[in-house]
């Protein structure tokens, strides 16, 4: 079982959903970022998604976009992330995932990325603009270094495409909860309950729900059908407002 799957299953074994915070690298500052990551880990995060900032984030809402643009202005690059991460990784128990758009990964070089990411202790990659059809070569290169390529599926992913994704999923499957972009919402669409059941039945890997997740009570209705939740914009807003990572995670763990 992949390290990421294991982390999520461990949380489930404790009777709770895995908590997967997302934070753009370099936010809220180059040094503070690593402090927040360590704090999230200490507060019980099971997997941490580190955002790789991109100038043109098509699937992101204003909160994530703004944080990413600020990171870019601070000079954050994939190279910086992969150089800094090993210096901080040793003390972090949580699984680490990089999430970002394809072009920065591509320019880094996929073979070099796989090698350097593995050496830095990265367990998986999420690339929203790479659908199944374009993912296979990349998945192989990353897989050779033990890195999971984590698929995203949505409310509108039809059964035949779910089956395709399920055929070689690894790490976890990320279900996008809304037909829209990232950003905290107070309520989720009604049809998400049925989709969670459908995705859960199709996949062997754990199921995490993301986009629009703000509070744990949004997820209560889904019981053990859901294995984990990704929280991004709400965390960014909380930190921007001066809150601590520990405070943020306490209702979740």
């Amino acid at each position: 079982m992949s390290n990421l799957s294991e982390k999520i299953r461990e949380a489930n074994a404790k009777g709770r959903k895995a908590v997967i915070p997302y934070l753009p690298a370099g936010f809220p500052g180059l040094t503070e970022f690593w402090d927040v990551i360590k704090e999230l880990d200490a507060a019980g995060a099971d997997v941490i998604e580190i955002g790789v900032p991109f100038s043109d984030p098509v699937a992101d809402g204003p909160t994530v976009e703004q944080a990413c643009l600020e990171s870019l202005e601070l000079g954050v690059t994939l190279k910086w992330i992969l150089e800094e991460l090993p210096k901080h990784r040793a003390g972090i128990k949580a699984g680490i995932v990089l999430m970002g758009y394809l072009n920065p990964f591509l320019q880094y070089g996929l073979e070099k990325l796989a090698k350097d990411a593995a050496a830095a202790g990265v367990g998986g990659l999420i690339i929203p603009d790479v659908p199944y059809e374009e993912a296979q070569e990349m998945k192989e290169i990353l897989g050779a270094q033990g890195i999971d390529f984590i698929y995203l599926v949505g409310l509108n992913t039809p059964p035949e495409r779910l089956k395709m994704y399920a055929s070689n999923a690894s790490g976890y499957v990320y279900l996008v909860s809304v037909m829209g972009i990232t950003g905290a919402r107070t309520s989720l669409p009604k049809e998400i309950g049925d989709k969670i059941i459908e995705v859960k039945e199709a996949f062997d890997v754990p199921l995490a729900l993301g986009f629009g997740i703000k509070t744990p009570d949004q997820l209560e209705a889904f019981g053990d059908k859901l294995d984990g939740a990704v929280i991004g914009s709400a965390l960014i807003d909380h930190i921007r407002g001066g809150g601590s990572a520990k405070e943020f995670l306490s209702p979740w763990v």
């Binding site: 100038s55 043109d56 994939l78 394809l102 920065p104 990964f105 880094y108 992913t157 829209g180």
Partner: protein, 388 residues
């Protein structure tokens, strides 16, 4: 060639949430667009409404000066004043056949926005147009035209506030409204099938030019020249001549001010391969893969990428890509106005500039077709700013 690819370029790099609508468009492209009834209806509208065929106009005065025969393919005379209408009529008709209620578009110069709003009004569809806030200001006249045609224009304040940001915003909107909305992509770029779909709708330009060449001067042209931003007018002209190996094809990119370190729009001449807006193509980017801002005096060329088929035509050597700067485009603009009584769009002025600037590379007596992709009325504000 791999499905959806032109050599190493193209593909479909889109969020999974956009895959169902993209597959729906691909399916409609294969079944509806290729069907005889659709093509008949499309052809009828192009004739009766758009005003096709557009003429191939000989330029006697410039030809005399240049020493070769210069012809203009007059897309400026198509309804709404640019080639953009060919594609939007095609996609609006497709949207109707697909049962969609709304046409979504992005626009830089405003020509695609106006053309989409026009097609939507003609075919009874709603229309929403995203436009960078900078472009809203510099193309205020076109914004008003879109509004008169019933479209809702939504200014985009993020990023560089130009075309690329308008495309980002349109994709975001399409994710949430895909059930009723067709994204009428404005150029032969983006994820598969848009590069091929837009090319096919624009290829009417080249097919007409090919036939008119034979009728008017008895042979095929020696050289085709067209400006390239995303590249839809150029690929529309080139496509019908692809197998005519003796016909040279030149795409002209915008070099901006031409000063060292200036922003420009030379995605092929100065860019590198990468993935942006759903396709692998030539891009203006940093070595870390961030998209760099672009610039051109012509808003329609102000885009940091290019359609993937052009990237392939460049890589394979079938077409050549060059650049001219803002001043050269302005000079060509004035030349065409004064010598031939035609006011070209600043985009098209780049293509005209190539034949003026590189006239010594063109053998005497050659037959040269420049695609006059649009008319210059929309650019009067910019012209006044630069020329007084």
């Amino acid at each position: 060639m791999k499905k959806g690819y032109f050599g190493d370029f193209g593909g479909r790099f889109s969020p999974e949430l956009l895959m169902p609508p993209l597959l729906e468009v691909e399916d409609a492209y294969k079944t509806i667009v290729k069907s005889k009834p659709f093509l008949t209806e499309f052809g009828r509208i192009l004739t009766e409404y758009v005003g096709r065929s557009t003429p191939l106009t000989f330029c006697p005065n410039l030809s005399r000066e240049l020493g070769f025969n210069l012809y203009l393919k007059r897309e400026d005379l198509a309804h709404t004043g640019a080639h953009k209408i060919n594609n939007t009529i095609g996609q609006a008709l497709l949207a109707k056949h697909m049962g969609k209620k709304t046409l979504l578009a992005e626009t830089g110069a405003g020509q695609h926005g106006v053309a989409t709003a026009t097609a939507a009004a003609y075919l009874g569809l709603n229309c929403i147009v995203y436009m960078g806030a900078t472009d809203v200001k510099r193309q205020a006249h076109n914004v008003r035209r879109m509004q008169l045609l019933g479209a809702e224009v939504r200014p985009v304040e993020s990023g560089t506030k130009t075309l690329k940001d308008a495309i980002n915003a349109a994709f975001r909107f399409w994710i949430s409204e895909q059930a009723d909305t067709h994204y009428c992509f404005g150029t032969a770029a983006g994820p598969h099938p848009f590069p091929a779909l837009v090319r096919d709708f624009q290829s009417v330009v080249g097919h007409e030019a090919r036939q008119q060449s034979v009728e008017q001067f008895g042979t095929l042209p020696d050289l085709l020249v067209a400006c390239v931003g995303g590249g839809s007018n150029a690929i529309g002209l080139f496509h019908a001549f692809m197998d005519d190996r003796d016909v040279r094809m030149v795409g002209v990119e915008a070099a901006g001010s031409g000063e060292p370190g200036c922003y420009h729009s030379m995605a092929i001449c100065k860019g590198t391969p990468g993935v942006f807006h759903g396709a692998r193509t030539q891009l203006l980017q940093t070595e870390d893969g961030q998209i760099e801002p672009s610039h051109s005096i012509a808003p329609g060329l102000d885009y940091p990428g290019v359609g993937p088929e052009h990237a392939w035509l460049d890589a394979s050597g079938r077409a050549e890509y060059v650049s001219v700067n803002d001043a050269q485009a302005l000079n060509a603009f004035q030349s065409l106005c004064r010598h031939e009584g035609i006011i070209p769009a600043l985009e098209s002025s780049h293509a005209v500039a190539y034949v003026l600037e590189y006239k010594d590379d063109i053998p005497a007596g050659s037959k040269v077709i420049v695609n006059l992709s649009g008319r210059g009325d929309k650019d009067m504000g910019i012209i006044e700013e630069y020329l007084g």
